[in-house]
């Protein structure tokens, strides 16, 4: 296609992209501001970054968030992959409609609703079974529940495009179903698993609403600390913290995109070679 399009279209595109990026760029810029006043440029400084390293509250919250993120996204990848296999491989089974519904529901469910219902479950469970105490465990469970949906959808689309005949060939050659799956289909869907894990990790790291509902006293995730700080007024160390998170997540996304593209190219190349 031609690169020429009307100047109006072009300017709307630029405007949209500018709207998306200017606040982030400004935020990162201000994180290096020596002045404590947000509207005055007091020179370049990394003081706010070093201050972060001494802020126990933020460090604890960051540790909790990372821990929750790793555990929850790993759990979500396992459950989500199983759900995706179940939904694509088995034509009918009891509860298929239910599973389909529950996999898609978190995408339309407002977070406040999910959060409060899950909290009520946890509170009732604690009353009856004495488990789970509100905190790390409940946050992880709640995050796994909504991340599973995203993993399932990511893996599902990849599974649908995977060629089942490879797996059948492996089984004909005597491999058991698990071995056949691991040797043929798993490498094909691996990029989707990686993408699903990363997506879950960023969603978990970002979640404020559900975590606030299900967490208990003493367990504050990073978004909860940031929210309460922002609610109280601006503190320049949040700028530094936000810049770090944005850069780390941005790099992760770029890396994941690069890895997936490379895997895809390699696969295309191998298919071409095999066809020759």
């Amino acid at each position: 296609m031609s690169e020429r399009f009307p100047p109006l279209l072009f300017s709307i595109l630029c405007f949209g992209i500018a709207v998306l990026y200017i606040p982030i760029v400004v935020l990162i810029g201000y994180s290096f501001n020596a002045s404590e006043l947000v509207n005055v440029w007091g020179g370049f400084s990394i003081a706010w970054y070093s201050e972060l390293l001494h802020n126990r509250q933020i460090l604890n919250a960051a540790a909790l968030s990372l821990e929750v993120g790793v555990v929850a996204s790993t759990g979500a990848v396992i459950l989500g992959t199983l759900a995706a296999i179940a939904l694509t491989r088995y034509r009918t089974f009891r509860g298929k409609l239910l599973l389909t519904g529950m996999v898609n529901a978190p995408l339309v469910m407002p977070e406040v609703v999910t959060g409060i219902t899950q909290l009520l479950l946890f509170v009732s469970m604690l009353q009856f079974f004495g488990w789970p105490h509100r905190g790390f465990t409940t946050i992880v469970i709640a995050h796994v529940a909504f991340c599973t949906a995203y993993v399932t959808i990511t893996v599902q689309s990849r599974l649908l495009s995977a060629d089942r005949s490879l797996e059948e060939a492996a089984m004909d050659l005597g491999a058991g179903p698990v071995r056949a799956f691991c040797d043929t289909t798993l490498p094909i869907i691996a990029p989707a698993l990686a993408a699903g894990w990363l997506l879950s990790f960023t969603l978990s790291l970002d979640d404020l609403v559900i975590s606030s509902f299900v967490s208990g006293p003493g367990a504050s995730t990073l978004p909860m600390v940031i929210y309460s700080k922002v609610k109280l007024g601006l503190s320049p160390d949040v700028n530094a913290l936000a810049s770090i998170i944005i850069c780390v997540v941005g790099l992760c996304v770029l890396l994941a995109g690069y890895l997936m593209r490379r895997a895809e190219r390699k696969r295309q190349f191998e298919i071409q070679m095999a066809d020759r």
Partner: protein, 312 residues
């Protein structure tokens, strides 16, 4: 003895294999199914139950709906008070309508900005497209809360926008944007624009350009070709994008809470306040259930049938 065991062994192995063939798939289906039933579906039953309870000063802060009386009778005490309260207190109806309106208009504005963006993207070269896609996707992955916070840095009273406008002498005193309805719209559009652009781009990219050339050859002006060909063919993208913006916008909490003023009562924020500030769990549950029935239910049904239509 030994012979008998040997004779039995293959049989047992076969029956084990048979068992796996018949029931093995449940090993795959059950873990996610059970997990989601227990931790996603069952919670709604609890919310429904507690929405019929009354507030009480105890831990947890509500009365029992189901209880066993001393003479071993199960006692069910349902209170419709919370739902009556939702109907009588104006705040709930107002915030419900307000959420609908805000979500609707911000979706519309996202569409008006997002459509030309997606269109321009679909008309550029493959290499440019990849770069643009990355540019659009990147903010979609960055923290929602942090992006709202970053926007606050621009529009607050001593933020970049006001500082710049004052310096250039365009205004005499700072504009009040924060804590207004405008800020809420700005926040939603800023946060959800990528959700609109991506599905639109996906449909526009697949558009068959020979159709447009044919229309031009037949003497149609470009705007006519756009209205008759491009727009109808991109409708699936328009619907998908609008849903992706409308649905999360309606239950939005962070944006009205951080950018909006006291008037910007969206239903998500009302629920939050009811729960965290008033500590009224039963009313908060009733709000959640009402929200589910009045908003999420219709949307889910619509999507269900819409997807079916598209498959046909």
């Amino acid at each position: 003895m030994n012979v008998a065991a040997e004779a039995l062994a293959p049989r047992r192995r076969r029956s084990g294999r048979e068992f796996m063939e018949r029931y093995g798939h449940w090993l795959i289906i059950l873990p996610p199914l059970l997990f989601l039933i227990v931790f996603f579906l069952v919670p709604f039953a609890f919310a429904l139950k507690i929405s019929f309870a009354e507030t009480a000063i105890r831990v947890p802060p509500y009365t029992d709906v189901l209880s066993i009386t001393p003479d071993k009778h199960i006692q069910l005490s349902l209170s419709l008070g919370n739902y009556k309260y939702l109907l009588t207190d104006e705040v709930y109806a107002v915030s419900y309508m307000y959420s609908l309106r805000t979500a609707f208009f911000s979706t519309l504005i996202c569409l008006l900005i997002g459509y030309p963006m997606a269109y321009a993207m679909s008309r550029s070269s493959k290499a440019t497209q990849n770069v643009l896609l990355l540019i659009i996707i990147l903010p979609f992955w960055t923290s929602f809360l942090l992006r709202v916070y970053a926007l606050e840095g621009i529009i607050r009273e001593n933020g970049l926008l006001n500082t710049a406008l004052l310096r250039f002498g365009l205004i005499d005193h700072p504009l009040k944007i924060m804590r207004t309805t405008f800020a809420v719209y700005l926040g939603i559009i800023y946060s959800y624009l990528p959700f609109m652009v991506l599905p639109l781009f996906a449909t526009l990219e697949k558009l068959d350009h020979t159709l447009l050339e044919a229309a031009a050859d037949l003497g149609n002006p470009p705007w006519r070709a756009f209205l008759d060909i491009t727009l109808p063919l991109s409708m699936p993208g328009v619907i998908a994008g609008s849903m992706l913006v409308f649905i999360p916008a309606i239950g939005e909490f962070v944006i009205p809470s951080l950018l909006g003023g006291p008037d910007n009562l969206m239903i998500g924020r009302v629920l939050w306040d009811e729960f965290f500030n008033n500590r009224d769990w039963p009313v908060a549950s009733a709000v959640a259930i009402a929200f589910l029935v009045l908003l999420v239910g219709p949307i889910a049904l619509y999507q269900h049938y819409n997807v079916k239509d598209m498959e046909v």
